[in-house]
Amino acid sequence: MDIAQTSFYHQAILTLAALVVLASFVMLGQGRLLRIVFVLALQGALLALATALAAFSTDNPHFYISSAITMVLKVILIPIMLRRLVIRMNIHREVEELTNRTSILLGGASLVIFSYYVMLPIVHTSHMVTLNAIAVSLAVVLLGMLMMISHRNAVAHVAGFMSIENGLFFAAIVSTSGMPMVVELGIAFDVLVAAVLFGVFFFHIHSSIDSLDVDRLNRLNEVEK
């Protein structure tokens, strides 16, 4: 069966899935922190839109609530918090030197292929149209991890962590008919608390090593060498 035979809402959800991966790739190759935060907000918005569409097409009204929570938390609150942190620590003009950007991006592309390979048996188990996007959501998780490996700035690590959470959330949307409300609210709250804690940690790191470059943490020693 081809995508042309599916309904328009399914096509839109699949397209949004592809755009979510694109947002992950853009974050992966971006050296400016404010732009990373902006793309993270954009990814959240795509996610919220996909959730709302899923709510409409599968007739699951409680998806609307998760869509609204996503909208408030991941598009408005957390990006604004990160943005204010970056500006307050006066690192918004720094451009992070990414070593070997092209090979990181191509590594990301191979991660997408790997997650497709891993998820193929699961996709074959069901005839749900949106289940195809589960490989994409695993790819978003892996790309978030790759982002935490390849970037050195702590804010970029937090963005990578948040995009991992986005990937898991997306997997839940496309493969199940929604998580229980308790779980969903709990996760949303956890993410919010994590963002606040990260902010506190930023200040600690920043005040102790005068930078958010985590590579410098290697040089912290009790004794001077």
Binding site: D2, A4, L14, T15, L22, N132
Partner: protein, 314 residues
Amino acid sequence: MAWLIALLQTLLFIALAPLLAGWLKCCKCRLQNRRAPSLLQPYRDLRKLSHKQPVVARQASWIFTITPYIVFSATVLAASVVPLIAVDLPTAAIADVIVMVGFFALARFFQALAGMDIGTAFGGMGSSREMTIASLAEPAMLMAIFTLAMSASTTNLSVAIDHVLAGGFVLRPSYVFALLGLMLVAIAETGRIPVDNPATHLELTMIHEAMILEYSGRHLALIEWASQIKLMLYGVLIANIFFPWGIAETYSLEALGSGLLAITGKLALLAVLLALSETLLAKMRLFRVQEFLGFAYLLSLLGMLSHIILEVID
């Protein structure tokens, strides 16, 4: 009848290309608060150049004099493959889209040779830069084309457009990516901002202009015309593959007329978009072009992957 229309379409391609260049210049002038030259100015320039006697350097070999003709005819042959106002033309059945890329490569090869033929420093520099960019742009372009070919199961442009038309409006993630990738490649290949500035003669930044610096008279006219056709060709590719609605499917007069109107409107809109992006963006450093084209390749690759991952449903 079909052959006649095919011939007519190719001639139309050649005749309308300077008009598109004029319209693009007009849009750019408006956006920069300048008074625009007439839409027909490119035609006047071509006529003026073709009346002038070409000056050829004493050391120039036959490659230098034959290159403008090869470049022009290769570009025209490539244009004859692309459906402009009607699909299912006999010329489209002869060659597929990979042959079209091959024609471009042939033209570029001779242009680079001619740039080095005279032995000036600028020519060699321009050739080396052009080949660098081309070697990065070509994989991205082919990847975008393969995405299209996989979903339509053909590399023939006309059949692929038929496939898109038959499907009606389908939102395909792979096409979104292929469209973006092809747009970036088109900007790089036709030498527009931010990769190259077609209006500059500043030594440090020019790429295409450096190669053709030694040309004059009718040779220059042919090369300029060929690059205008190439710009239009990319525009037609983007417009007709991804938004083919309006193209003539029969050979009746009104179908052809509406096809012509549709493609004119689409190209005018694309030119406005291009002028906007050229006004908003600054030219990037030469060494950042690699990243730009790497991103184009990534987009095309993601297009292909999302076709395989998302669009095949069992």
